[in-house]
Amino acid sequence: MRRIAGKRLWWAVLAGAAADLAGLGLIAAAAWLITRAAQQPPLAALSVAIVATRAFATGKGVFRYAERLTGHDVALRAQAGTREELYEALIPPQRPRHGGADLLSRMVDDTEAVQDLLVRCLLPAAAAAVAGLAAVVVGLAVLPVAALVLAAGLALAGLALPAGTAAAARRWSARIAPARAALAGRVADLVHGSADLAAYGADEQALRRAEAADEALAALERRQARVHAAALAGGTLLQGLTVAAVVLLAQGTGVGSVGTAVLALTALVSFEPVLPLAAAGERMAGVMAALRRLREVRSAAPAVAEPAAPAPRPQAPLTVEVEDLVVRHSPAPARPALDGVSLRLTPGRRVAVVGPSGAGKSTLLAALMRLAEPESGHVRVNGVDVRDLAGDDVRALMTGLTQDPYVFRTTLRDNLRLAGPEADDERLRRAVDDARLGDWVARTGWDAELGEDGRTVSGGQLQRLALARALLYDPPVLLLDEPAEALDEETADRLMADLLDVTRHRTTLLVTHRLKGLEGVDEIVVLEEGRVTQRGRHDELVAVPGYYRDLWESEVLTRR
């Protein structure tokens, strides 16, 4: 951030200071002009003050405009820099975090804190410091003891008050955050649990609980408002009393009416840029918390270690061997997500992995794609352990349709081409046709904007789009993670049929919970609780009791 802001930051500070100084100069010159004029000197004695008054008046507006423009420019640059750093930090595979999509949104919001820090906190503080200093210097020239009083008043209003509000805001946000979370939880109960609540006649009670959570939060917020109120009152008091004290001192020492007026009005106006700093202090608590969260993200260790000297990327055709693989998401006493899984994928072979949710199917794919670090065991590609390969190289060899494929807010063409930037229209069309997406593309058009939370893309089209991407990328080993997830039965059946059709003779690892069509794959591996409990071909597995036959029967049953 510092690196990017650089010289522009100084320009912004200068412009801000100049605007505040012009404001100060305007009032000082006007005060001098008026009190001096009352002594009825020759007109020539006033001409400088007249010009100065007009110049300061114009300058104030112009400098303020310049400050706001340069300030926002600096802030935007700083924000862009922060975002870039955040993005760079997120590129290596991440350990799964709690919060998922919400967390990402918050991270992105957090990058805006940098903008707040500059525009609302640092720049005003710097400008206020310069203006305050200038006022004190004016005071020193007129009456040193009054300048001391002014300096004390300004320091209290510009340092002590903001420090106080910042500390209070920190303390209060620590108390309010749990109350807020509790309220959100109770509201979520009402929304997500509405069926359970209504069925068991407990909705009244849940509503009361939500209202109680609201009361608790409101009580805290009411008390928090006192901090803000006290800061406002303190600022008003400091400004008024400082001015009164300065006037008292000036009159007591006989500085004269011109000096007194200049002193008094300068003191009065010098508080104007200083008083808003108390509110900036309140904001600082949030800004610092956001910056701390960003730092934590940046310093988080990636999920997998990259080799210092990566081995050369193996050439297709590829044989993938998984041997005794153990992957753990949470530390030891917990069951590992994968507990000693072995399988072998030779060129042209298709292997399906089935099992209940939470059995470790997606973890297996994550380990293959170098997104999760194994605790023990090996994944070898043509005999080379994937740990010795660069992560990007591994993913160039083994990838495809991953969990939760994403539709970017761009055209259909660009959404596809991210998997094949060099692909010509002919290849794009072929991938789309192979994914049985041709009709839809013909209807929507290649340049249709997709995205906006996938509003324009149905679940089935999304999965097919992801499949088209995978086919366009055409990796030596194609991985497909639950391609029929979240689809209705009919769409799922059609997609699976198409998929099994286009993957014929491709080296493919298919993770699925639908068994229809698996007669065609070379091997089926049943994973339960991280272990392989059954393996074989479809007709072998339906012949023996177990998870596979059970699932098959329920599928048959629901179909009839």
Binding site: A30, T58, L76, V247, L248, P356, A466, E553, S554, L557
Partner: protein, 609 residues
Amino acid sequence: MHKDLLRLMRTERSVRRHLAVTLAAALLAGLLVLVQAELLAGVLSGRFTAAALGALAAVVGVRALLAWTQGVFAGRTATGVKSALRHRLLARLRELGPGRLAAHRSGELVTLAGRGLDGLDAYLTGYLPSIAVAAVVPLAVLVRLFAADLTSAVIVLVTLPLIPIFGALVGMTTKAVTERQYRALARLGGHFLDVVRGLPTLRAFGRARYQAGVIRRVADEHRGATMRTLRVAFLSSLVLELCASLSLALVAVPVGLRLLGGSLDLTTALLVLLLAPEAYLPLRAMGTRFHASMEGVAAADAAFAVLDTAGDPADDPADDPAGDPAGDPAGDPARPSWAGAAAPPAAGAPEIRLEHVTVRYPGRDGAALEDVTLTIRPGERVALVGESGGGKSTLLHLLLGFVRPDEGRVLVDGTDLRELDPAAWRARLAFVAQRPHLFATSVADNIRLGAPAASDDDVRRAAAAAHADFVDALPEGFGTVLGERGANLSAGQRQRVALARAFCRPDASVLLLDEPTARLDGRSEAAVVAATAELARGRTAVVVAHRPAMIGLVDRVIRLHAGRVLSDTSPPPTPTGDEHAAGRAGGDFPAVPSVAALGDGRDGTRGRV
């Protein structure tokens, strides 16, 4: 000004009072600035003695007190309005009920009723008081100026309107430009979030690094567009700033010249100098506050949009609490339609009859249920099977009273369900949703959801019957507080807590289960099936089922397709299903050693972590 919000504030007495105090404090503090200027001018010109400084200090003290009062009461106003709005929203959510709530985006509702309303703070604590001050203080300053010095007053009077006029002019000429550019901004600003969200996909295709460059380019574009917008948008503030500061110069210079000529006294001149800026300040403050309050206005709009969505009239005739916008919590607006409802038929397993029932959901083609006629005899156990979207869950929701037939009727022992008090009817039901919601309270409280009076022993018995033995292995047993949305239990464990809920209603005579074993692994499934078998004993049971083990429990299988009954077969059609159910429940299945051992086995250890 937000009309709905103002109306809301008027109806809440405490809010009205707090707002009145806030505005009064803001106005008084604004007017006291005039007194302060008067005193200061007098002291500086030598008209008042230094003793007047004491009065000045007193005025400052009172202003500080008023500022404190304003801050405190503005906070109370804000929390009061937010609470009032939130209470209405929550009551509305309950009123919509599970049937119609599904039509809303649930995540957005949760955010709106929670954090979303906080956007109102800036509007209520900043903008509203600033309007009052801007309406009164400049006028008061003008009046005082006219009394003191006509020339200066005229200058201020002429320049003062320039602020709103220039503001409006600049606003109008730049409106189109700024709006277009703000839209571009929103799109570009969204790009970063878009890319970060899609990072796993980019990583899968080796495009993550490439996008770093795109992000930089887009950020540059974003900045360029923003700065173009701001150059114009800040013009209005430049004009305002210039108006105010040049007016001060315009006032000060002639005043100085007239002092020179002796046609004006110093006190008046200083008063004019001190007061002139105070005429402009409130207007500029209001402009700044207005921009900061836009988010709150959007939140209020969203909240009132939810409050104003009229309930489907056919669905719920009593939905419009017309005379009672506050949604009086005691007089539950969803219930009056059943006031004077028929007493629920005698307890004991009832006969349920559907006669030509059709259910349609608004905004959806085709009926969810179409002309369904069937009779479920007392104590009969029925499985509903068929493709998803075939109408199985709708049928359950119909029996629960969450949805009502558009045509036809549902009879319980011959009484139309519409004429039964839904609370009394639901008291006879035990329901396990497909994804039961667990609340962030203790396991015991989750189990006694439908029977708040149940003793600890009742809860334990219910849990044991539901094969939820894993609860004992939790850190604090039945007192263990579950994470948000039951996050620290596995799917199978959650399902068994929900089943225990059903067991904890021993008087329930009708059991409604929505795919209780979906997404469970074999072992959890066996436990749930065994528990369900016990629960169904002696009750009418309607079970949405997919798995053979579950279907093995029933007397009758009804297959639904596209909202119609496709087949209605009495014995379970698959012999393997029977075999399985027996095998699972009996314990001779090799992978499942014994149902009783399951609960405190693997699942128990998993529950601890």
